[in-house]
C-alpha cells in the first residue's frame, strides 16, 4: 500500500495503481488545475498549469522537497511522495501560467459557447488575477470555419493544449489536426483541403478545455447554464455509449459522452452525438390515429386502449390468435418489450413474437485507424462503432427467448408471412431511421389488422389500421443491454410532446395494471422471472451499468 501526502493529508493508493499526481490529489479531494492532460491521451506536460511542489517523505519522517516546481501530470505518485499545491511557490506558478494564457485570449466570454463550462473561466476565478497587465494589443487570429463539417475553430481562444491534435492521432488515428507556426503564433490547423471529418471528430469539442473548438450543431443555440443534464444511453448502435442528454424546456440541445470504462470510455461517435434531431422533429407523429373505412380519425389514448383491446378480443374469439404476430423493435427498452410480450400472450396465447428490423451496416468500425486508414486489431481498439444500429438487440433477444424456443428475425418472418397465412400484426418500430421498403409494405398490405407504433408517420397510412406515436430514447425510461451484454439505465430527459403516452405506459394500461409505470419495478419483476437477467434485480444499475454474462 502506497501512502501519498497531499497538502499535508495522507491518502492511500493501491499497489498496482499507476496514478499521476493529478489523479492522486483527486483522491484526496484536492483539485490540481490542468489543461493539456487528459486521462485517455498521452502526457505532454506542456500547458504548465498543473505545476506543484513535490518532495519525498523519508522513512524517518523527514520531508525533503525538490527545489523546482514540477508538472503533476507527468509525475507518478509513489510511496512517500509529498505534493504541495497551495504553497506560495506553486500558487505563483499557477497564477503566472494563467496570466500567460489570458494574454492573447480575446475574453469574449459573452459570445462564447463554452462560457459556463470553461476551464479558463473556472481556473482564472480560482487561481488567476483580476486584471491583465498587458499594455500592448492582443494577437488576432482568424476563425476557422473550414476545419470540419461539424466543428469550428475560434483560433484566438485556443490555449494550445493540443488535446485535439493528440485525439486525432491517438484515438481516431486519422491525424487531421496539427499545429502550424511557432511561438505565440502557433495555431491548430488542418492540412490543406483535408478537413477533420472523421466519425469521432465531435469529441474534439468535448475535450477542448476552452471555447476554441465548438460544435456547429450546438453553436449559439443555448447558454450552457440553462441546460439540464440527464444521464442516459446513446441508442444509435449496439455499443451503447453512456451519455449526457443536455436539454432545456423540453428541447434536447446536445448529447455528450459520459465516462464509462465498460462501454465507451470517454468518447462517443458523431452518428450518436448528432443523431438526436428526430427527438425535436416537427414531423413526428403526435396523436394516435385510427382508420375508419378510408378515413383517418384522431383518437384519444383511452379510446385507443379500448379499441385495441376489443380488436384483440375479437381475434381471440375468432380463434385466429395463432395467425397473429407481435413485431418488437430492438430500440424498445427491456421493460417495454417485456410488457408488450406479456400483454400479447395474455390476449393471444399462440401469437408469434418476432424480432423487428435492425439496420445493420455490416462490419464494426474500429478505431484508431492506422496511417493507411486500416482498422487496428480488435484487441487494440480504443473505440468501436458497431455495424448493428440498435441499442437493445441483446435485451430483446433475452425476452424473446423466454417466450419462444427460437428467435425469428424480421427477414425470416417476412419470407414466411404468406405461407403462414398471418392475418394480424402488431408492429412496433422505434428506430427513427428505419423505413419499410416497398417490398415490405407490400407484404403487410393484405393484413386484416395492422397496428403500428412509430416515431414518424412515414408510409404507414397506406397500409396500417391503427397508427400510434412512439417515443424516442430521450423520453424513455428503462434498460438497454448493449452488444457486450452491459445493462444500462435509460432515463427520460424530456417528457413526450402533446400528452403522448410512452410505449411502456400504453402497454401498462392495456395490461390493466394499477398505479403508474415505474421502470425499476418492472425491471426487478423481469429479473426475478428470467434467470439470465437475475443481476438486474437491484434498485440501481449504477453509473456504468451491470454486465449480463449470458449475453456477451
Amino acid at each position: 500500500m502506497a501512502i501519498i501526502t497531499v497538502n499535508g493529508r495522507d491518502i492511500e493508493i493501491g499497489d498496482h495503481e499507476s496514478l499521476n499526481l493529478i489523479q492522486a490529489a483527486q483522491r484526496a479531494g484536492v483539485e490540481i488545475p490542468h489543461y493539456c492532460w487528459h486521462p485517455a491521451l498521452s502526457v505532454v506536460a506542456s500547458c504548465r498549469m498543473c505545476l506543484v511542489e513535490v518532495g519525498e517523505k523519508r522513512s524517518d519522517g523527514s520531508i525533503v522537497m525538490q527545489p523546482r516546481v514540477v508538472p503533476a501530470c507527468q509525475t507518478p505518485a509513489k510511496h512517500g511522495t509529498v505534493v504541495v499545491t497551495n504553497s506560495p511557490k506553486a500558487r505563483a506558478a499557477q497564477a503566472a501560467t494563467l496570466e500567460y494564457l489570458l494574454l492573447n485570449h480575446p475574453l469574449d466570454c459573452p459570445v462564447c459557447d463554452q462560457a459556463g463550462e470553461c476551464l479558463l473561466q473556472d481556473y482564472s476565478y480560482k487561481y488567476g488575477r483580476a486584471r491583465s497587465r498587458l499594455r500592448e494589443g492582443k494577437l488576432a487570429k482568424a476563425d476557422k470555419y473550414h476545419i470540419g463539417d461539424q466543428i469550428v475553430l475560434f483560433t484566438d481562444r485556443c490555449v494550445m493544449c493540443t488535446r485535439c491534435v493528440r485525439f486525432t492521432r491517438e484515438i481516431s488515428g486519422t491525424a487531421e489536426l496539427e499545429v502550424i507556426h511557432r511561438g505565440d503564433h502557433a495555431e491548430i490547423d488542418i492540412f490543406p483541403g483535408k478537413p477533420c471529418n472523421n466519425k469521432l471528430a465531435g469529441n474534439v469539442v468535448d475535450i477542448c478545455p476552452v471555447g476554441a473548438l465548438c460544435s456547429k450543431d450546438f453553436l449559439y443555440k443555448q447558454r450552457v447554464w440553462f441546460l439540464k443534464s440527464q444521464k442516459s444511453v446513446c441508442p444509435q448502435c449496439a455499443t451503447g455509449c453512456s451519455i449526457w442528454i443536455d436539454h432545456n424546456k423540453n428541447i434536447v440541445y446536445r448529447l455528450r459522452p459520459r465516462y464509462n470504462p465498460q462501454a465507451n470510455g470517454y468518447f462517443m461517435c458523431d452518428e450518436g452525438r448528432f443523431g438526436y434531431h428526430h427527438v425535436n422533429s416537427k414531423e413526428r407523429l403526435l396523436q394516435p390515429l385510427g382508420r375508419q373505412s378510408s378515413e383517418w380519425m384522431p383518437l384519444n389514448w383511452l379510446q385507443l386502449v379500448q379499441e385495441i383491446r376489443s380488436r384483440l378480443d375479437e381475434i381471440r374469439q375468432a380463434q385466429e390468435d395463432h395467425l397473429t404476430a407481435l413485431v418488437l423493435s430492438p430500440w424498445l427498452t427491456l421493460e417495454e418489450a417485456w410488457l408488450a410480450c406479456q400483454w400479447m400472450r395474455q390476449m393471444c396465447p399462440r401469437a408469434k413474437l418476432v424480432r423487428g428490423p435492425i439496420r445493420d451496416l455490416g462490419e464494426d468500425d474500429i478505431y484508431p485507424k492506422t496511417s493507411r486508414g486500416e482498422a487496428v486489431p480488435r484487441d487494440k481498439a480504443k473505440f468501436i462503432i458497431r455495424g448493428e444500429k440498435a441499442p437493445n438487440r441483446c435485451g430483446l433477444d433475452i425476452i424473446l427467448r423466454h417466450y419462444e424456443t427460437t428467435i425469428v428475425t424480421w427477414t425470416q418472418w417476412l419470407e414466411s408471412i404468406a405461407q403462414q397465412n398471418i392475418l394480424h400484426v402488431y408492429f412496433i418500430n422505434s428506430d427513427p431511421l428505419w423505413e419499410a421498403s416497398a417490398l415490405e409494405l407490400e407484404a403487410l398490405r393484405s393484413l386484416r389488422t395492422l397496428v403500428v407504433h412509430d416515431i414518424f408517420p412515414r408510409d404507414w397510412p397506406s397500409v396500417a389500421h391503427w397508427l400510434i406515436p412512439a417515443t424516442t430514447f430521450a423520453e424513455k425510461s428503462g434498460t438497454y443491454i448493449n452488444a457486450d451484454g452491459l445493462a444500462q439505465t435509460v432515463r427520460p430527459a424530456i417528457i413526450p410532446p402533446e400528452g403522448m403516452w410512452s410505449e411502456a405506459r400504453f402497454f401498462w394500461q392495456l395490461l390493466d395494471r394499477t398505479g403508474l409505470y415505474h421502470a425499476p419495478t418492472v425491471r426487478r419483476e423481469i429479473a426475478s422471472t428470467i434467470a439470465a437477467l437475475q443481476p438486474l434485480d437491484a434498485d440501481e444499475l449504477g453509473e456504468s451499468g451491470i454486465p449480463i454474462r449470458s449475453c456477451a
Binding site: Q74, V179, H181
Partner: protein, 444 residues
Amino acid sequence: MAFEPVLLRHLQIPGIQHLDTYQAHGGYQALKRALELTPEQVVQLVKDSGLRGRGGAGFPTGVKWGFIPKDHPGPIYLCVNADESEPGTFNNRILMEGDPHQVLEGTIISAYAIRASVAYIYIRYEYGRAYRILQRAIEELYKHGLLGRNILGKAGFNLDIYIHRGAGAYICGEETGLIESLEGKRAWPRIKPPFPAVQGLFQKPTIVNNVETLACVKHILERGPQWFRSIGVPPDPNNPRDIGSFGPKLYCLSGHVNRPGCYELPLGITARELIEKYGGGVWNGRRVKAIIPGGLSMGFMSDQELDTPLDFNGPLKVGCLGLGTAAVIVIDDRTSMIDVLYNSCRFFAHESCGQCTPCREGTAWMTKILARIRRGEGYLDDLDLLLEIANGIGIMPGTTICGLADGAAWPVKTAITKFRAEFEDYIRNSRSRSVTLRETTKTL
C-alpha cells in the same frame, strides 16, 4: 607549460579536408587505438578525462554515455548536434569546414564506445558548405573501409553515418527537439524522463553530443586523459558541486572587438585576457560596456566582471546562466542595452517552439514590452514586470520542458539588474520627449 592548440592545429594545412592528407598528419590513429580497447575502456577514458559537453549544458560526457542500458540489444544511435544556432557561436562550423575528418574520427570513436550502429549528424540548414564538405568526407571513409561493416577489420563494429539538414529552427539544437525533428516531427522538446540515453531516437537508446565534444574525444584517445586534465581549471574546493573544467575550448569572439574569431584556449581564461590579448581590444578605442560570456542565452556580464574566468563555473558566480558555448560577444559603451535586450527578446520569442505556455507567451510579451520601451512609451514599473516575467518563465526552475525559456530569461534578468540605471534613464527621458511631442501635436 605553454598551451598548444590541438583542435585547430591542422586547420591551416592545405587539403586537410581530404582523407589522405588527414592520415598523413596522423589521422585515424586515435580510432585504431580505440579499437584496440573495449568500448567500456573507451568510456572509462573519457570519464577519467573529465570532458564536459561543449554544447552548452556542460554535462560530463562519459557519465552521459554510461546511462545507456547495459546489454541493450540495439540499435543504439549517436546523434551529432551540429545545429549550431546559439547567437554568437561558430566553432562547430569552423571544425566541420576546416577539419571534417577530425570530427568524423571523434564520431566513429564515440559510436564505438556507446556501441551505436548508426550516427546522424544533424546540421543546421544554413551550413551548406559544411554539409558538402562532411558529405564528401563521409564518402571517402566508406571508400576506404572506415565506415560501413567491420570497420578497420574490427569484426562486429559496423557504423553508418547520415547527415540530416535542419530547416532553420533554434529549438532543433535542444537534444530531444533534435530527436523529434530527426523522426520527422515538429521539433517540440520531449518531457524527461525517459532520457534519450534510455529512450531516444525511434524509442531506442540515443546519445546526443556536440561537434566540439566529439572532436575532443579524438584527442583524449590520442593523448590520454591525463593530458586533458592538465589543461583547464581543477574543481573549486569550496564548491562541492563543481567537477572542474578541463581541456581546450574554442572561444568564439565576436561583437565590437578588433580581431573577432575562433580562438582555442585552455578553459578558465578570463574575459579580459580574451578580449585584450586575443581580440585586440574593443574597436575604435572604445570601452567594454557588457559582454555575453557564452552565447546569448547565458545573460550579460558588466565591464566590472571582466576578470571572471570563462570556465564552466565562472559565469555562474557573476549571475549568469553558465559558460554555454563560450561564444563571447563584446558590446561597446556606445551601444544601448535597451536595443541589445530587445534584440535578444525578439530572437527568443521568434524561436520559442510554442509548446509550453510560459515560454510561448512570456517571450513574446517581454518583446512587446521592450518594443514599447524603445518607442518611448515605457513605464518604470515595466522593468519590474519584465523581471517578474523572466523569473516566471525561466529563472524559477521547472516551469518549462526545455531550456529555451531559461535562455530567454537570463539576458533580461542580468541586463535589468546590472544596467538598471540605463533603462530607467531611457524610460524617463524618452517618455518625457514623447509626451512633449504628443502635447505639441495636440496644441497644433
